[in-house]
Symmetry: C2
């Protein structure tokens, strides 16, 4: 074990402050990474504040962060894909059982025994996993991703969660050139959805409640922007979408979007409203439409996404902050006051 | 125009009684059919009683019936697939525009200009279409189906709606040997779903609230029966179904079934609860599950279903009644007091 610097919360109501945590020394299959940037995901806030208590109670001290990019500092003797000095990234998972049908199908995100990057039992230390608000992390090779060298690292960090969460359903539901794709909600997830749908060649329509976001949506790659409160504008698109990515985590009327789907169209939710959404059945029946959810993506698909980003030079729009501003960033996150993701410059932790 | 005998209602609160209606003489592409049996669908009751007033107001007099089998009596000069004496069937649609993308894709059920078999504007007569509670019907050849000669005709009639409505989603979502399939609700639709899922080779599990239906479910082809009120029994099947056919038209907890789906599993609703169903988003997200609707089936798929029924000797379980008992049958339908479909023997209309 070695000591690593981190920023942690010690209770649901505490602010973040400097902390020292223990990491394992790299074993044969491990990669040790010096963390350069870590994105702030809304999940970090939910977990730090124990807002998912019934489902995933928070174990304190809690070090969030699952949008990690950095540089390899050490590798175990059996590691073949990485060497010290390489760029590397870690997302929401750091392990899985590797033996179940889901793992064998290369879909670790559906493994019943996956290990999340933070706030999860850690079989190596007997404690809990600590995430990316830290100066280093040690992860088994299979769960470490390669980062294309042309990407801005601060903007690349959010690809590890916001990126794969939106890329995976677009790919799963067959978004390609010639398809008409909607993106609902222009936040951390939604703005990545727009970039990916555009890069995949789809006719991309952004739905937003804020007329003020129109310009930015077009800049991000939207072909059209619809103000979702305007029923007339909505009706013009009735029955026309092949796929809609719904990135809204607040309660909202999903039926208004189901009605915009073409025959066999699908709407996938990647936000997670806490309460059930009322779904009108006739909207699904009359055009054989479907309504789905999607959860991050597999390790192979995350690598595919990063490679796609390298090819198309796609990163998240970020506001880079020092770790000392994380408490302030959480308050701004609650007001959606960020375009579109905070990325923590972990160099700031050296002086913490 | 010629006069046909029928049973009609003259208002939302009137009982059925004998009526004389006008049918068109067969044009070049038309097939005239002597109706031998007509199933009673729950939609008939909704429409007769104007219970879908906002969506499809009833035009009186109303002659329902869209589960029609009979014998060809006359054909137009351009008809090539039928000749007098042939068995023939008609389902929920009697026409569509034949030119839109949906029609060209062979999916007439999604045509914006389809013509339903009853209570729909009739471009030939300038009035309204009249359904199968009648001694004859005239339908354009493309919408007339062939009936395998080995099938019991009284039991074959319900295939035209209850049959295709359940067969189509089972096929669309890839039900085959080796899949685990659930059927929720053992009524007119559900009992056909069980027969089809079994004949397609799937491991078929029936969900019912009534322990008294267990024996019958097994007889119909179920491999297992789960009493859906028993949370323990339900939990045993968590995360295991490839596909669930939900044939319940009353409000019910769809989340209990979503949780039984495996990764990438789908639940399709073919019943149509009038109120929106609350759907918990986490249930969809964690295994990339989807929730869909399905609407009858195309003409080509209806023929495929009838041929499949001929091959596997599948018909609906019916209680045959004379047309004079249709009012009584409607009251029993409201109490689900039928195993599993009423089929009207239209010979009874001769003495009406």
């Amino acid at each position: 074990m070695y000591k690593a610097k981190a920023y942690a919360v010690s209770s649901a109501t505490s602010p973040f402050g400097p902390a020292t945590i223990e990491r394992r020394e790299p074993t044969d299959h491990d990669v040790q990474i010096e963390i350069l940037f870590c994105g702030i995901c809304h999940s970090d806030l939910h977990q730090a504040r124990d807002e998912w208590h019934d489902m995933m109670p928070t174990m304190y001290p809690c070090v969030p962060g699952h949008e990690i990019v950095g540089r390899v500092t050490r590798v175990g003797s059996a590691v073949t894909k990485f060497k010290p000095g390489d760029l590397a990234a870690v997302g929401c998972m750091v392990d899985s059982d590797r033996t179940c049908p889901e793992c064998k199908a290369g879909l670790e995100q559906f493994c019943n025994n996956f290990v999340l990057t933070y706030n999860f039992p850690d079989k190596h230390t007997g404690k809990v996993t600590y995430g990316g608000y830290s100066d280093s992390i040690v992860v088994t090779e299979h769960f470490v991703l390669k980062v294309p060298s042309n990407l801005d690292l601060a903007g690349a960090a959010p690809l590890l969660c916001a990126g794969i969460t939106t890329y995976s359903p677009l790919r799963h539901w067959g978004v390609t050139k010639g398809k008409k794709v909607g993106v609902v909600g222009l936040g951390g997830l939604g703005h990545m959805g727009v970039k990916f749908a555009h890069a995949l060649g789809a006719h991309t329509v952004v739905f937003t409640t804020s007329p003020g976001k129109k310009e930015d949506a077009l800049r991000l790659g939207a072909d059209e922007v619809v103000i979702s409160k305007d029923a007339n504008e909505m009706n013009k698109h009735a029955g026309s979408f092949d796929f809609i990515l719904d990135a809204v985590a607040a309660p909202h009327d999903i039926n208004a979007y189901i009605n915009l789907l073409a025959r066999d169209g699908n709407i996938t939710l990647v936000g997670a409203p806490p309460e059930p959404l009322p779904v009108g059945v006739f909207g699904l029946i009359f055009r054989r439409r479907s309504f789905s959810g999607s959860l991050i993506g597999s390790i192979a698909e995350t690598q595919e996404m990063l490679d796609f980003c390298g090819k198309h030079n796609i990163t998240s729009d970020v506001e880079v902050i020092p770790i000392q501003k994380v408490n302030e960033a959480y308050e701004r996150l609650l007001k959606s006051d960020v375009k579109y993701r905070f990325s923590i410059d972990m160099a700031s932790l050296k002086s913490a």
